[in-house]
Symmetry: C2
Subunit: 303 residues, 2 copies
């Protein structure tokens, strides 16, 4: 018999959904002392870690698991994160903003307010080039949507080249080649040592002045002062930041008023219990069969 | 030898592109009297109609050919319109606006201006229902994009049921069934007698209060007073009108200031010479082989 502890704000909904699935050999418990499986929010799970003597497996309900891969924390269990479920929401978000710029939606609203018949064509995404910083399960989904819209897709990864929707891959020292000529640069990078300030002044200088940068990964990937400067000097056309180094953003942060910078408050991909429950069920079946779980996190690598 | 007259504002670009294609037995001429083929804008072609004694075929560079199907005009030639080329631009436009609403882009901009961390989730297109008024080549492309985003697709047509991306078809008297429960209603209908004011008070009443209506077809499909009333009384959540009965919209028209109504000034699908040239070449090859042309307009039906 396995015993599952749920540590999430919407614990009731998870309890109901998993209960309805009627999984074999599984009991949902509320006491940390007796559970061997935890499903939950990384921050809440971290607090419980010292009180979980029988812990074998943690399924995170988020993709980012920074609180759990912190080197000060125990690593004597299998950690799986929520991958594979955010691709479609991320695509809606990223293409929503790309089309917001391309279709000149803000300019059309202003024209209407001025009672001006604004017939200027903004052009198409079709034929434009998108560069994906990171091509895991989310990046692959973005690549697929980009192809649906007839775009050219570049991918920057450590070494993987597995996504069939990427036209050209770049790695390692080819970062400036990768960004040269991009119309859109999208970061889906996780927070690790290696991704710190990868979007810095040099990279921003290498972007076209009409390029738009979208960050739906983690805030650490961006040198925030360099981004403010690039936008103030019109070195790039715009930025959409779903993530920042500090969240919520401090009230005195320059991002609130940086020109052509759009804040979206970490909403690009919400964690929906229906998706996470499906993922948990899939992994639980592997767990009781003693098979390797899906989306296992490498504690060293951090994702 | 065939003689082609080009009647379009960007005539030079068409001349260059078609010249480069080096088509057999084709000469580009500038005199109406000697041409047998015309490529052009319907309005400009209509003016030339009395001066084209040898006319055999007109290829319109637009989808809408109202000036040419008018019953007062001659019909002793083959008229083909530009179909099949607007699907991708229309998809960018329609999904740009659907995502603009769904991702709460305007609300996020306002939150940023107020330095407010607006974490409210707007939800996903995935799982929502779109209804297409008209499922020709543009509607089919919209249906395909809707499926890419995981939506449920309903189609309303006269009788055709040919698009594999439509989940359920409606015809004739089932218009109110068709709109009941829709999240998005998109009209791509051409201007004909039958489409006049199809979006009227009764239909708007049958829509959900959270529904958004998008018109990328023709303005005649809408009872404009009924739409203003529906928006003023929050009977529907929003409307995006790329087309109106009168264009440009008269300065005193209520649409300029109707709440939650967005005007886009007939920009949803521009006619790009690269696309139209490709279509012309394809049809020209059929023409010289004496085969039936693609996208032939039925003068009686009007499209």
């Amino acid at each position: 018999m396995s015993k599952l502890l749920i540590l999430a704000h919407n614990m009731d909904e998870y309890t109901r959904r998993i209960g309805q699935a009627d999984l074999p050999y599984l009991e949902i418990v509320t006491s940390p002392a007796e559970c061997d499986i935890v499903l939950g929010e990384p921050r809440m799970v971290r607090e419980a870690l010292p009180h979980l003597p029988d812990l074998k497996w943690v399924q995170s309900i988020y993709a980012g698991v920074e609180p759990l891969v912190d080197p000060t924390q125990r690593r004597d269990y299998v950690l799986t994160n929520a991958r594979g479920v955010f691709g479609s929401s991320m695509s809606e978000f990223v293409f929503g903003y790309m089309l917001f710029f391309k279709k000149r939606i803000q300019e059309r609203i202003q024209a209407q307010q001025a009672r001006k018949w604004d017939h200027l064509d903004g052009g198409l995404l079709r034929g434009r080039t998108i560069g994906l910083l990171g091509v895991g399960s989310i990046g692959s989904h973005l690549a697929k949507t980009a192809k649906h819209f007839g775009m050219i897709v570049r991918g920057f990864t450590r070494e993987s080249e597995g996504c069939p929707h990427v036209d050209k891959y770049y790695h390692g020292n080819n970062l400036l080649d990768f960004v040269g000529g991009l119309d859109y640069l999208v970061s889906v990078l996780p927070r690790t040592e290696e991704t710190n300030q990868i979007v810095n002044a040099e990279l921003l200088d290498a972007l076209s002045s009409h390029a738009v940068f979208i960050n739906v990964g983690r805030g650490n990937a961006v040198d925030e002062s360099a981004l403010v400067e690039a936008l103030e000097q019109n070195k790039i056309a715009g930025a959409v930041l779903d993530v920042t180094v500090q969240e919520p953003l401090p009230e005195e942060h320059p991002f609130w008023t940086t020109p052509n910078l759009f804040l979206t408050f970490h909403t690009s991909a919400m964690s929906y219990p229906e998706d996470i429950t499906e993922l948990f069920i899939e992994n639980y079946k592997l767990f009781i069969e003693g098979k390797p779980l899906k989306y296992r996190v490498d504690f060293e690598r951090g994702y």
